[in-house]
């Protein structure tokens, strides 16, 4: 089944005012930033209220959408003419955009609430909530916009919010550098997205999703491949996929709620959204969709390998995020059969990864902001709620039977196996590595001996932090089953992204090769982690490690590659330019001036001030003239 036609909304329900979803958090951000210090006392409450209000609008819109018939589940809400004759700004309310809107506002609100507690000692808490609200508004614009221009504005907006929040503690040089890095790497991706949009505009004369429907086939296959690859470049930048992955691990310099909201649950999934939303281009070009799956597979393995060697709990989780988004990207590259699993995994991942990031934040909060897992250990008894919720997230991500990740990740792997054995098996291998690095994290943090610093006094976090954890872990338990069983989510998304010709069968516990082998590999990975980090003692100082460990610890030499391939040549180029400017351009101008100055400095010595010298030179001159005249014989 193809996606249904986008129609203009004519009703009088909540969908008509769905712009409120974007406007409310934007208003919140504006109030907090413009009024400044006056709002310090209640700023965080306003931030939470705006986010919650946005969530309420999203839920009401969702309810209204469910009340419509399947053929009418894609509603475009016209707002205003943005660029006359080119872009009409409007919102597209369909199952895909609303799924994202619910995730963003739902998980976003929980993280807002958690931040009240987490940032309670920070003098700049108000500014933090202003940026969070700005992020929510921009992210909602990204997913709700009914054209690429609006999407791009949101895209840049979340990039800005991400930059501001990674560098929130800008007095730390590492945070400032990480923010800059994220911003610059993202610009590379934005370049791809922009050029992709240019080509769409020149090929189809429109950037609106509604007008593009059914027109994609008009372009040549080369054009479609170019559009697909350029959009993928944009997606890679935002979603930290190879080769633009390097910024995500450094982005963990930001406060932990930021890592949870922006760099795990929502913003980094924008790339997956872009690929699914532009699905028509990828379906029309087998090259482009193949590259999407290759990028996905490569990233899911790279992220998993990086995750295995990180001692920083947040960086371990960041590697895992990369890896999980790799799964989503793989799913998104598989066409309508994979879209639903990709988005379902995205939503489930939004819950369990936010859950674990906030859990990690809770642990850090208790351990004086220590992030080195080698200095944790034995925390399960002191932080029972954090431990229990983290455990749920952990079981969900490794695909423990009947939890969220089990169904969503399995779906992606099964679909991948149908498309190509190699990608299927690599995805299964990635699942096994996930089992290892996540178990390693659990054993190092919550089990084993205490390896704390002397002045660490771990304690359970306040309820304003634990309640969001509990809610997120509840989502991590049941959401996967709910979305995948009876292909519920696939059918729900069908109006927006289409339906594959053959629906996958749902099993409560699948006994296919993929299902069983991935479970076996996960068990193997977890067992190995237990052998290395549970049974034997964890050294407080990281051992030197084998070549492989160092390889993973250095992020697979991604930074080194970027530095030697782009940064150093760039520096050389600037140095050459500076040299040319100093010596060439300036040298020419300065040299000319110096030559004239020097010559005249010597010439002026001729002016001695003695009148008789002048008289003598006049005499000589006259004699010379007379001699010359005589010589030419004019006299």
């Amino acid at each position: 089944m193809d996606p249904v036609k986008i129609t203009d909304y004519v009703g009088t329900g909540v969908i008509g005012v769905s712009w409120l979803m974007i406007a409310l958090p934007l208003l919140g951000a504006a109030i907090l930033l413009v009024l400044g210090r006056i709002t310090n006392k209640w700023g965080h409450l306003l931030g939470v209220a705006m986010s919650l209000a946005s969530f309420v609008v999203a839920v009401l819109g969702f309810v209204e959408l469910l009340g419509l018939s399947e053929d009418a589940r894609r509603q475009a809400v016209h707002l205003y003419e943005f660029i006359p004759g080119m872009v009409d700004m409007g919102l597209l309310i369909d199952p895909l955009s609303l799924s994202f809107a619910l995730l963003i506002t739902g998980v976003g609100s929980l993280i807002h609430i958690y931040s009240i507690g987490y940032m309670s000692h920070d003098p700049d808490r108000r500014r933090f909530f202003a940026y969070l609200n700005l992020f929510v508004a921009a992210m909602l614009l990204l997913v709700l916009s009914d054209n690429y221009v609006g999407l791009f504005i949101g895209w840049e907006g979340v990039g800005l919010a991400s930059y501001l929040l990674i560098g929130f503690w800008q007095f730390k040089p590492s945070a400032a550098v990480a923010a800059k890095k994220a911003f610059i790497v993202n610009r590379v991706g934005d370049f791809g997205l922009l050029v992709g949009m240019f080509i769409i505009w020149t090929s189809f004369g429109t950037l609106a999703f509604g007008d593009l429907q059914g027109k994609v086939g008009e372009a040549s296959s080369g054009t479609l491949t170019a559009i697909g690859l350029l959009l993928l470049l944009g997606a890679c930048g935002k979603s930290a996929q190879l080769p633009l992955q390097s910024w995500l691990l450094d982005a963990m310099e930001g406060p932990t709620p930021v890592s949870a909201l922006i760099h795990a649950a929502t913003m980094v999934t924008a790339g997956v959204y872009l690929v699914v939303r532009s699905g028509a281009f990828f379906e029309a070009s087998s090259t482009a969709s193949l590259v999407v799956t290759i990028v996905g597979v490569a990233t899911l393995l790279a992220g998993a390998i990086i995750g295995c060697a990180k001692d920083d709990i947040k960086k371990g989780l960041a590697g895992s995020t990369m890896s999980q988004i790799g799964y989503m990207m793989l799913g998104a590259g598989l066409g309508p059969a994979g879209y639903a699993f990709a988005i379902a995994h995205l939503i489930a991942h939004g819950f369990f990864k936010a859950d674990m990031f906030l859990g990690a934040g809770s642990v850090m909060h208790a351990m004086n902001d220590e992030v080195d897992m080698r200095k944790y250990g034995g925390l399960r008894k002191l932080m029972p709620i954090t431990f229990a919720t983290f455990m749920v997230g952990y079981l969900a991500i490794i695909g423990f039977p009947f939890l969220s990740g089990f169904y969503t990740k399995d779906g992606i792997m099964e679909t991948a196996m149908e498309h190509g054995q190699w990608m299927g098996w690599l995805a299964v291998l990635g699942a096994g590595i996930t089992g290892f690095y996540m178990s390693r994290m659990i054993f190092m943090t919550f089990f084993g001996e205490k390896r704390w610093d002397k002045d660490a006094h771990p304690h359970e976090s306040p309820s304003v932090m634990t309640v969001p954890l509990i809610l997120l872990s509840l989502g991590s338990i049941g959401l996967g089953y709910y979305l995948i069983s009876d292909n519920r989510f696939m059918k729900f998304l069908a109006p927006a992204v289409g339906l594959p010709e053959r629906l996958p069968e749902f099993h409560l516990f699948s006994t296919t090769t993929v299902g069983l082998s991935s479970l076996a590999l996960v068990a193997l990975g977890a067992g190995f982690a237990w052998y290395k980090y549970g049974k034997s003692e964890v050294p407080v100082l990281a051992p030197r490690g084998s070549f492989l460990t160092v390889f993973a610890r250095r992020d697979l030499y991604g930074d080194a590659l970027n530095e030697s391939l782009f940064m150093r040549p760039g520096q050389w180029l600037t140095r050459i330019a500076v040299f040319f400017d100093n010596r060439g351009v300036d040298g020419l101008v300065n040299g000319l001036a110096a030559a004239i100055g020097g010559t005249s400095g010597r010439m002026r010595r001729l002016q001695t001030g003695f009148a008789r010298t002048y008289a003598l030179s006049i005499l000589f001159g006259a004699a010379l003239l007379a001699g010359a005249l005589l010589l030419v014989g004019n006299i």
């Binding site: 002026r604 001695t608 001030g609 003695f610 009148a611 008789r612 008289a615 005499l619």
Partner: protein, 98 residues
């Protein structure tokens, strides 16, 4: 005849030029300049006589007028310099240099 006049004119001019170059006293230098001018006048008049026309004589008058004007201005300058510096040496008035 003409040759003798011209030789005299050349001699007077040479004396004047030499005086300008080697004497320090501004008054003497000034007088030497007058010598050179008058040597030129002599040459003009000599040529006028030889060619039988008046142009050279007219120019001699012009030179005299200019010389008179020059004497007025030049002497005024020399007197002023002498008043301020108590010296009429041309080598002492050497401020106008690099």
């Amino acid at each position: 005849m003409t040759t003798q006049y011209l030789i005299l004119s050349g001699l007077i001019f040479a004396i004047g030029a030499l005086g300008v170059l080697i004497r320090r006293n501004a008054i003497v230098v000034f007088m030497c300049v007058e010598l050179m001018l008058n040597a030129c006048n002599l040459a003009f008049v000599t040529f006028a006589r030889q060619n039988g026309n008046l142009e050279g004589q007219i120019i001699a008058f012009f030179v005299m007028v200019v010389a008179a004007a020059e004497v007025v201005v030049g002497l005024a300058i020399i007197v002023t310099i002498f008043r301020t510096r108590r010296s009429a040496s041309v080598d002492d008035a050497n401020l106008l240099k690099y």
